[in-house]
Symmetry: C2
Subunit: 450 residues, 2 copies
């Protein structure tokens, strides 16, 4: 979102080493935009420009940068420069950074923190990867049940928390159990003299620190909350997760699903931040697995060809791509529908029977349409009605089968706790290919009485 | 999120027509949960239970239900029942409902509204589908530059807006131009006697009412805002869009992308709400188009087979699935990477050259790996090194080509303003299939000197 106009002008200021002008310009920008600018600069200029930022802005800009740029800056910083930034970062963003850094750098970063902040950072890093704990921040407002609304507002003023963490106040008892929540709105609209508990909501919606981040996404979206309190198994209040982090998780989950659906080992890093060799590895492994799986389709053809006259094989070979392609397409369609509906929580594996009934019928009806197309094509390509009929019938069975497989495998994977996205796109297609070929050749034997 | 335990018990209460017990139970639930319950009930019970809800809760529950259930309820309601609910609905949710309803029902609904609310509803419906205007609500707090903070809080109390629309106050001049924004947080933390403008931020980030909803998603996510002011071309403040609607849009966009990537005409409705015939149509059209496109691959084989001895064709046929499969997989991988990076705005069509350099190299390196796999398989299946070499070389070229095509087409589509998601999965595969076959057979002529 850096104005097309601003960028060249900025580069000119950098080229002409006009630091004073840069300083005043950047001070007026949004932290996000400064972060974007710094990311596209070379490391040397990046450090120089970062040092020009007003103290108040520096940490926020740093928080908003991608891990790669953060690491480079951190390594260029003196301890004296790095310490205050790490100290002021909001703990959730800091966890994000620390878990990405090389161990050496992480250790240095932890050493630079105040004992208090170090304790926080270490406790957050202790939560499993992709758990809610990794997302949460311990910066939030706790209040006591017996307070007055006015007291709570005074308390807020005394805390001066950063912006994201103040839209709810959480009511805890003396053992720090979460017993209620108050929205800032209700607090502001209430009479300062009225008891806090009158505007509070009891047994608030919360999420466990060890549950999967997707869980937090579902709850927060479901109840349209700005923040979600995080508790331990005994309902002690540990922290909160905020909607902005949740939106990022939602986007990451989507990227991951799409990569898995395309048979890529998922990576959380943006495309340009992922090294050539890394992307190569994440793609090659699946291509090779699927390639080797290709042996099956080859051997299916080999197995049947011995039993069929080779001119017939040739006649049939024309339509192998068409048949396999269509089977794969139909399977991918239903798999995509299932995977997405599972992701949004609209369907659960329990719905299998209901889905199977519907999608089997769907497969047959689609199959019949495509059978006609297949017959037509066979007729056009070589005027042999028998091969046309063979292809047509094979088409019905193949699509019905592919549809059923594309429905079952994602549900099965979900049911056993694996990512349903695996059973889609290329991986699914490789399976439907083999099934399609087997059906095709058996049809031939059946129809052509061979 | 309806407790597994609660549901049967609720059904029992319904079966035993124990309305009093139901009334007290439901009154304690979260509106979202009640909405979910009503959705799974049959229309008759749904109406009965809805009538049991406390007045204060009814509208919120109604807002949270899916369009289908809302329509059925609305049609069952008397004017006297429907009117207050439609009147109290937050205008953005109401637009969502009205645009889905059959015209007849929409007209009735508009008639039931107060002149004031009708004017609002009609003005919102006037915005193009998928525009920010369709998402926005005109319920928000406007303040004047010269006020004191205390005044603004009093003003808020007098408005008593619904929860989603109060976390920012917007400063307008006498011509209703948007000139500043104040977060509720800063307002609360500020001294009531201090001038409002001291805690305000000038030239706030805003979005145009006619721009695409994806635009609002990008801005709101980028700046971590809870709400975004919506303006017209002359910067007059029209309304706001809130983060909860934005998260829904984000989820819808994802679903749409995944459906298009799987060659399904996208639908915004959840799977179970979409009728059999509708899903059939949305899938059949692409399967047929792609099936007919299959003619090409069939005719490629036909074209070359005439020039090749048929036993050789048979030998080659073994590996057609493997070659086409791998080409399609490689293409789908890179296409998925491009489509997602385009969606998140990480790459733009301008990056083409940079991407092409990287992905062509990637294609060649991947191709070489898979060539070895291919040669190996050819060797295992029929001990003919020549066919193995042919397949291997064809593999390198096919994967490099597929990789390049999978990179170029999404970028091209984006550049000309089409949805890049089209150029992926099945559609892309159909293209790479034909290319793969042509390469394969030409290789044969080259290597086997035929």
């Amino acid at each position: 979102m850096i104005g097309e106009i601003q960028l060249p002008e900025i580069e000119e200021l950098i080229a002409s080493r006009n630091w004073r002008a840069l300083k005043t310009t950047l001070a007026e920008w949004q932290p996000h935009d400064v972060a974007d600018l710094l990311e596209i600069l070379n490391p040397r200029d990046r450090v120089i420009l970062f040092r020009l930022l007003p103290k108040a802005m520096a940490t926020e800009v740093f928080e908003r940068m991608e891990g790669e740029a953060q690491r480079e800056l951190l390594e260029a910083f003196s301890d004296a420069e790095a310490a205050p930034i790490l100290e002021e970062m909001s703990p959730d963003d800091r966890t994000d950074l620390l878990e990405e850094l090389p161990h050496r750098v992480t250790r240095r970063a932890l050493r630079l923190l105040s004992p208090e902040q170090r304790k926080i950072a270490q406790s957050l890093l202790a939560y499993p990867h992709d758990s809610v704990g990794r997302l949460m921040t311990p910066d939030f407002a706790k209040v006591k049940k017996h307070w007055l609304c006015g007291q709570a507002i005074k308390h807020l003023r005394s805390l001066a928390l950063n912006k994201e963490t103040i839209y709810y106040l959480y009511v805890v008892d003396d053992e720090n159990h979460l017993i209620g929540v108050i929205s800032l709105r209700n607090l502001v609209l209430a009479d300062p003299e009225s008891p806090l508990w009158d505007v509070a909501e009891d047994d608030p919606i919360s999420v466990s620190a060890v549950s999967d981040q997707e869980e937090a996404v579902k709850i927060l979206r479901r109840y349209d909350l700005q923040a979600l309190p995080v508790v331990d198994s005994a309902n002690h209040l540990l922290g909160i997760v905020t909607f902005d982090d949740i939106m990022d998780v939602q986007a990451e989950e989507t990227t991951e699903d799409m990569q898995i659906m395309a048979a890529i080992v998922p990576t959380e890093k943006p495309y340009f931040e992922t090294s050539f060799s890394e992307i190569f590895a994440k793609r090659a492994i699946w291509l090779i697995i699927l390639g080797i799986a290709g042996i099956f389709s080859a051997s299916v053809i080999r197995f049947y060809h011995s039993s069929l006259p080779s001119d017939l094989i040739v006649g049939l070979a024309f339509f192998i791509p068409l048949l396999m392609g269509t089977g794969g397409n139909a399977g991918s369609q239903v798999a995509a529908l299932m995977i997405r509906s599972l992701a949004t929580g609209e369907i659960i594996p329990k719905d299998f029977l209901q889905l199977a009934k519907r999608e089997l019928l769907m497969g047959i009806v689609l199959g019949i349409c495509l059978a006609l197309v297949g017959f037509l094509i066979a007729w056009i390509v070589n005027r042999d009605p028998l091969i046309g009929i063979t292809l047509g019938l094979a088409m019905v069975l193949t699509i019905a089968t592919a549809n059923f497989v594309g429905l079952s495998l994602p549900l099965l994977f979900k049911a056993v706790g694996l990512d349903p996205a695996f059973m889609s796109g290329p991986i699914l297609t490789t399976i439907t290919d083999v099934l399609g070929l087997i059906i095709y050749f058996n049809m031939t034997h059946l129809i052509l009485r061979i």
